[in-house]
């Protein structure tokens, strides 16, 4: 069953403006679960929704349900600081994340939903000569991987972000930096909603308030799941539940190399445009961009201990804010308006896990940790491929769970910014 959607456009807005905005149809429908699907995706975050969309669009599999325990996009997808970039060190990562950036570049038009991808550029600032040298190592790797990276000198960095502290004697002096100009930010909710709308119009069932509570496993194979809204059977199950991956894995009887932590984000009160690029520092881990609404969107390191509380504590708030105030002295007069936390699924090598799980019929999309928003279109594309074919896509193969036993980890952890 396909639900026809009214096309979004400036023209449609004009027409609806005259008609009192009453002609719009639901962006997606709330469905009741059917007893069986070809594919069931657990988790209605960006990855789950994108996977459903690509299953329908690329593979023609539309008998698909996305099960979300709360409201779609309510996990990390709706809580993150939306940095999109592909400046990763290893070729395996670059292939994955650059695919994602390329998909993001056309996503608004593809989904007919403005996800506001703003390729304003992201600068990672170097605070010492030694850091600048290390940055070159990364920059060259990325360039060889085909990613657009430039090394900037101090003046260029200060020109692009004039509010940065230009004093060479401050704690975080600007000695230079690295920029990816195609990097940027997008509107997180819109990514979830845009995929949901497009998937829904291709017949995918989006089922909110439906929590998966158990797996029915027969001879090593998942045949159905138990949910708060009844039993659902399917040929294949994909889980994309981020911070809750270990919980789901536990229900299916295996463990994952993941640890869930609180990652905080915070915004200042809105101000008129004052920062045109995303600025990050790997020395202290804090980063900032300005939202289209005018808020400074800030984040930094993980909270100190594993947690499912979705609530940050003061020490990390303080360290994020103080680092940024030191980098941007005039931000000291701004006020912090809101602070929150998400539950991120960190993996030992800061790379995701994609592919089969130890239980047949159940597939994994997890381990994105602090940086999986940027990967949503690619994660969806690859996971859809895996669920549709039962086999890896060449780009997803290196990210198989088996890499931890074989030793072939893809250690992006030491390679700089984590978001």
């Amino acid at each position: 069953m396909n639900a026809a959607k009214m096309r979004y456009s400036g023209w449609a807005l004009l027409r609806e403006g005259l008609a009192g905005q009453t002609g719009w149809s639901p962006a997606w429908h709330d469905r009741d679960p059917a007893p069986r699907y070809d594919v069931v995706i657990i988790g209605g975050g960006g990855h789950g929704l994108a996977t459903a969309y690509y299953l329908a669009r690329t593979h023609g599999i539309t008998n698909v349900a996305v099960l979300e325990k709360g409201w779609i996009g309510g996990g990390n997808t709706g809580r993150n600081t939306t940095i999109i970039r592909s400046n990763y060190f290893y070729p395996e990562s670059a292939a994955l994340y650059d695919l994602s950036v390329r998909l993001y570049e056309g996503l608004s038009r593809e989904l007919n939903y403005n996800i506001m991808f703003s390729q304003r550029g992201m600068i990672e600032v170097a605070h010492s000569e030694a850091e600048l040298e290390m940055m070159c190592r990364g920059a060259n790797a990325m360039r060889i991987n085909g990613v657009d990276i430039e090394i900037l000198d101090r003046d260029e960095v200060l020109r692009l972000a004039p509010l940065l502290n230009g004093d060479l004697n401050c704690r975080w002096p600007v000695l230079g930096g690295m920029i990816q100009r195609r990097a940027g930010v997008a509107r997180h909710d819109a990514v979830a909603w845009g995929y949901a709308r497009a998937a829904d119009s291709r017949g995918v069932h989006i089922i909110q308030n439906c929590e998966v509570t158990g797996f029915e496993i027969e001879r090593g194979r998942v045949v159905a799941i138990e949910t708060s809204r009844g039993r659902i059977a399917a040929d294949r199950f994909g889980m994309a539940v981020a911070g809750h991956s270990s919980v789901l894995a536990g229900m299916a009887g295996f463990a994952l190399p993941l640890q869930s932590y609180t990652l905080q984000a915070m915004v200042s009160e809105p101000v008129k445009p004052c920062l045109e690029v995303v600025v990050a520092s790997s020395s202290h881990g804090a980063y900032v961009s300005q939202s289209d609404k005018g808020e400074l969107v800030m984040g930094g390191n993980l909270d100190r201990c594993p947690s499912y509380a979705q609530r940050g504590n003061f020490p990390v708030t303080q360290s994020v804010v103080s680092s940024l105030v030191e980098m941007f002295p005039s931000f000291a007069t701004l006020k912090l308006m809101r602070q929150w936390g998400g539950i991120v699924d960190t993996s030992p090598d800061n790379s995701p896990i994609l592919g089969p799980s130890p239980v047949e019929g159940l597939y994994l999309n997890c381990g994105w940790g602090t940086g999986g928003f940027k990967a949503i279109p690619a994660g969806g594309t690859l996971f859809a491929h895996i669920l549709a074919t039962g086999r890896h896509h060449p780009i997803s193969a290196p990210f198989d769970l088996a890499r931890f036993a074989s030793g072939a980890t893809i250690d992006e952890a030491h390679a700089g910014v984590a978001h």
Partner: protein
């Protein structure tokens, strides 16, 4: 801003402590296969709710101990030295 009860020093602020993994993990010997070794090095229980964790009072007495903590509410239900 949690308060952790170090078995030797009493309640201290969380910033004095460092998390060190699951409590009660056995280190395999060299004869372990790749998978068993990977379980030990990389895999975690990552419990939601009641958890038994290993912490070290790094900014205090330096001792390791097992902390029983709820990872959702952050309620502490016990702490004990590790044998």
């Amino acid at each position: 801003m949690q308060h952790f009860p170090c078995p030797w020093c009493g309640n201290r602020a969380e910033v004095e402590f460092r998390y060190a993994g699951d409590a009660g993990v056995q280190r395999p010997t060299r004869t372990a296969d790749d998978a068993a070794w990977a379980q030990y090095v990389h895999f975690r229980r990552n419990a939601k709710g009641a958890a038994k964790e290993l912490w070290v009072h790094s900014g205090g007495c330096g001792r390791w101990f097992a902390l029983s903590r709820d990872t959702v509410t952050h309620t502490i239900t016990g702490s004990e030295p590790v044998a």
